[in-house]
Symmetry: C2
Subunit: 345 residues, 2 copies
């Protein structure tokens, strides 16, 4: 009953066998006679015994536990990644623990220590857009960690990071998004979000410019506004852009870094009485759960984040050293419409 902490010894003596035999039954090894197996099974049942994964880990050098580092779980984008990763991990018998981004900071009292001491079997790191000065630091931290455990990256990974990874092809994605809008007759297309100083050729910015070029549209610096990936920042950035331009130069469409930024844009537009999608189309990214409930419902790109998380776990477990790309899907809702004032050139 209350034998909540029986050990393998207890089971062995209760079943009248050696601990080696119990261990064999536990791990389903073949060479145990059916009779013995049954005896052991019953003893286990009777004592409600569960082997300690701790002790097991000491011997086997494997903990069956994975870690994930995220910037912010409150952002549903990351919650989706986590969910996908956690579920996949679980189906393989792994546990998933969350570590804050600060775990990478090698300053202070080396918090990465916590990661290493845990002897994780693998670590997923979700990398956000990084300012260049931070870039090197993070890279170093990752390289250190890799000496202790396999690491798989998710997100916006600078190409010179030599790590297995799972990500969307942001450049291609944004390029096609621009094409989608130009196809609707939009010619003043803004892009809001991201960091300015950046050298990664696979970023959204690049796709944005490619998209403009594809449509032979000019690149207008005023339409390229940088901000963090939050709703507040998006609101602010949109406010700033609109305020800085005469209304006749306002964009006819806005591509937001993500849905949070898009939400900020929508609010900014609403406050100014700009009709979406009548006067302005808005398109987000990540297809958050709230996208269909915004006003108007937000067109967004479903980046298959759960699948991304799941694939990262698979890479971790299989040890494959691939850099993988996850596809995406444009979810059309009411926030995008053909440009009414499209001038027949």
């Amino acid at each position: 009953m209350g034998s909540d902490n029986a050990t393998i010894y207890d089971i062995a003596s209760e079943a009248g066998v050696s601990i080696a035999t119990v261990s064999r039954v536990l791990r389903g090894e073949a060479n145990v006679s059916p009779a013995t197996r049954e005896k052991v099974r019953q003893a286990i049942e009777r004592r409600n015994y569960r082997p300690s994964s701790i002790a097991r880990g000491l011997t086997s050098k494997t903990t069956h536990s994975l870690g994930i580092i995220l910037p912010k779980l409150l952002n549903p984008h990351y919650a989706m990644i986590f969910t996908g990763a956690q579920e996949e991990a679980r189906t393989h018998g792994y546990t998933m623990s969350l570590f804050p981004w600060a775990s990478l900071d090698t300053d202070a009292y080396n918090p990465a220590a916590m990661l290493i001491e845990r002897r994780l079997d693998g670590l997923i790191v979700c990398v956000e857009y990084l300012p260049p000065d931070h870039d090197e630091l993070v890279h170093d931290a990752l390289k250190t960690l890799r000496r202790f455990m396999p690491v798989v990256l998710i997100g916006c990974i600078p190409p010179w990071y030599d790590f297995p990874s799972v990500a969307n092809d942001n450049a291609a994605m944004t390029r096609k998004t621009v094409a989608y809008l130009t196809g609707m007759g939009h010619d003043r297309i803004a892009f809001i979000g991201g960091v300015q100083e950046d050298t990664d050729p696979r970023r959204r910015d690049v796709g944005y410019q490619q998209g403009l070029r594809d449509a032979r549209l000019p690149y207008t610096a005023s339409y390229r506004v940088f901000c963090k990936g939050t709703a507040e920042a998006g609101k602010q950035a949109m406010d700033d852009m609109l305020q800085s331009l005469k209304p006749c130069y306002w964009p006819t469409a806005v591509i937001a870094l993500n849905d949070l930024v898009a939400m900020g844009c929508l609010l900014s537009a609403r406050e100014r009485g700009i009709d979406v999608p009548g006067q302005l189309s808005v398109i987000g990214c990540d297809d958050l759960f709230c996208a269909p409930y915004l006003s108007p419902p937000l067109t967004s790109i479903n980046t298959h984040q759960q699948r991304t998380g799941a694939r990262a776990v698979q890479l971790l477990i299989s040890g494959e050293q691939k850099r993988e790309t996850v596809d995406w899907e444009l979810i059309e809702r009411a926030s995008c419409a053909p440009n009414r004032e499209a001038a027949p050139t």
Copy 2:
């Protein structure tokens, strides 16, 4: 350099001391001479040594890892709880792992085994509204788990569950919410969400009815609609209610189980051209990050979910057996307004 897996023996020999001494330095014990301590420190530094929490756990019978069981991380409500819990855990040197709700199902291939085998130092379980038939099962599962590790509950806990817990006083909260609305002259107040068959006297339903009684308003069954706590369900429930009533009987205000349901209500209203808050006030609960960006911005109750998660961790660590209540805060936004058609009685 590559000595990524030095053991305490390596450090001992490198520093020319015994492993006991290394252990002492590691744990900051007092009785080590400064000279020795320094020698050991340097050896540790040189070999980049981090003690294995696994081995440590075997001896100390403590893993410094906690678990949390949530219905769904994609619901930001739970993401906030998780975040609060994780951060608090971290400050105490604990790791936090996520387990899906299914971990409690004692059917199937007893998944709770995973929890037990991990030898967690504690477990937080977020309990949702449970249908009565499920209630007993969950209770049993929890009681089983408690034999193996401390358990703290969060959320809607039936009062006969004898577990330490952290929760809002839902009844009082909803009662005051009704008062807030009646104070604005609303007299047809609907409540959407939750499960029907329920006997817990501390639920929102109860507060809702108390609130009506306080204002001497009739309890109108048609205004009490049950649905799950999702946006889709909220939309459907609102649609059904509105459709089943002549517009002149439509509620003037609706209290939603949570912000997701409220989002569904807002959408339903929008589709029907019902002006919020002109004709209908809507009030949610949880104050999700998107609440300010809805149209209109949603009045909601901030239930201090991060603090709830943090408190749960504190109870777990301290071993206190309290049932705690977390306070809350009404965040007023544009979705609620005085009832225009308030009849001067």
